[in-house]
């Protein structure tokens, strides 16, 4: 209990003293995870809409793979991204291993199936005849997709939250492809692992509290938008 209180005290001290290193780590965490989430939205929403509306052989298999991917272990993603980006790997020529870019790629790989899976579910939970009604109103295919996405916007915000939540909190992939290099690839989760490994539990708890606060802040903002959106 004493340890926890010390951790909270240290967290408050680090936050209110605007500790340079903690601030840098927090901002990098936010930047990497926000970019990875944005990338996963760009890929996952169109892919999810397509999989929800299209009908083609093998669709069920792909949806099953996406659903399985929603629970991808970050260390497995970290391992494969490392292999791909390794000097002798297929993408080794990019020379981005142990950089924030590698972390963004790994986190986007983790978040994309989550966003895709929730998008599929969001579109499929719409009334079965809604698509026909939209087309009956004279909508083109593009207008139909746009209107259906608009109708599923509230559950789609859950996709944003789940995607961001999945990557801001992961450590396995970030530590493998980023290397936890001070000032370059150290983020809140990797720093927490390192500090607890060194026995600096107060700092580790402090970093965890900052991570939790950051996650809560982003989700609170998205929840406010989600709730405001619903017409009264």
């Amino acid at each position: 209990m004493e340890l926890l209180l010390d951790g909270i005290r240290t967290a408050l001290k680090l936050i209110f003293s605007l500790d340079h290193e903690v601030l840098a780590v927090t901002l990098l965490s936010l930047k990497i995870s926000a970019t990875a989430t944005a990338a996963s939205l760009l890929i996952g929403i169109p892919a999810g809409v397509f999989l929800a509306l299209a009908n083609f052989p093998g669709r069920r298999l792909i949806v099953s793979l996406v659903n399985t991917g929603m629970g991808l272990p970050p260390v497995v993603v970290g391992l494969f991204v490392t292999i791909f980006l390794w000097r002798s790997g297929p993408l080794g020529f990019l020379q981005i291993l142990y950089t924030p870019m590698a972390m963004i790629i790994a986190q986007a790989v983790i978040a994309t199936p989550i966003v895709t899976g929730i998008t599929i579910a969001s579109i499929q939970q719409l009334p079965a005849n809604l698509k026909l009604q939209v087309r009956a109103l004279g909508a083109t295919r593009l207008q139909t997709v746009w209107i259906l996405v608009r109708e599923a916007r509230l559950p789609l915000l859950a996709a944003v939250m789940a995607g961001f939540g999945g990557v801001i909190s992961e450590v396995g992939a970030s530590i493998m492809v980023g290397g936890n290099i001070k000032g370059q690839t150290r983020v809140l989760t990797t720093a927490t692992v390192m500090e607890s490994g060194k026995g600096n539990f107060e700092v580790a708890i402090a970093l965890s509290i900052i991570l939790l606060s950051l996650t809560f802040g982003v989700n609170y903002l998205l929840t406010v938008i989600q709730q405001r959106e619903r017409p009264r």
Partner: protein, 246 residues
């Protein structure tokens, strides 16, 4: 074959769904301003017929002519912008009533203000102008179906397809809405095809009854003619239904 008075003509329509033939209609036509009810027992093919007329399901074969011109695959969207279709559920969007009614006009590229102005007129037509700013997902069944009707009429369709539009409503609301819809259809001169197994919907509104069975037309005529000589047990039962208002 096509007279000037003919709005819709369907030739040799064949539809299979899930490998089963659900529609086999050599010819079906609707005149301008004509109100036709398609009656059939459940699974009789009336919804499939309406979906096929709106080009919303694939036809195995058949041609649809609208105003004498064949509806081609490329021209389906343009054709759908001249008609409207209502389903059994109101299927309203998660926005205000006003924006729901304006949606069909916005889809057609009308400016927001003009679309809203037309939407208000359509809401007034169905006496629900006071609901304009309400959330469409917080309406009673009758109100929601009125909004759905207002949305369909806002685009000033030449033909309106109604797929059992009042089935989920209570009897007094159903009678009231059927009467109002009948009046509005007659005043506006809009042609309509109403698929139903509800006597009130069929007989309050229409000039002609078409009886489907197993996807085929087995009888057609004025409501009086069909009711006088029912072709099968379904029509006989339809005639005996209470709340007769013919």
């Amino acid at each position: 074959m096509n007279s000037n008075n003919q709005l819709l003509q369907v030739d040799n329509l064949l539809i299979r769904r899930g490998g089963v033939q659900v529609i086999d209609i050599p010819q079906f036509a609707v005149k301008r301003d004509e109100k036709v009810a398609v009656i059939a027992p459940n699974g009789g093919g009336k919804s499939s017929l309406l979906l096929a007329i709106a080009c919303l399901i694939q036809r195995e074969s058949g041609h649809i002519l609208f105003n004498g011109e064949e509806v081609t695959t490329r021209g389906e969207t343009a054709y759908r912008r001249r008609i409207a279709m209502l389903f059994q559920e109101p299927l309203l969007f998660d926005t205000t009533v006003l924006d729901n009614v304006a949606e069909g006009l916005r889809i057609r590229g009308m400016a927001r203000q003009s679309a809203r102005k037309r939407a208000v007129e359509s809401l007034e037509l169905f006496r629900i102008g006071h609901l304009a700013q309400r959330s469409a997902h917080k309406l009673s069944g009758g109100e929601a179906q009125r909004v759905s009707l207002a949305r369909a009429f806002a685009v000033k369709p030449e033909l309106i397809l109604l797929d059992e539009p009042f089935t989920s409503l209570d009897l007094p609301t159903r009678i009231l809405l059927a009467e109002e819809l009948g009046q509005i259809l007659h005043q506006s001169g809009t042609a309509a095809i109403i698929a139903t197994h509800d006597r009130i919907e069929a007989l309050t509104i229409v000039d002609r009854l078409v009886v489907l069975d197993g996807g085929r037309i087995v009888q057609e005529g004025t409501p009086q003619e069909v009711m006088a000589e029912p072709v099968n047990s379904f029509v006989a039962a339809f005639r005996r239904t209470s709340h007769a208002r013919i």
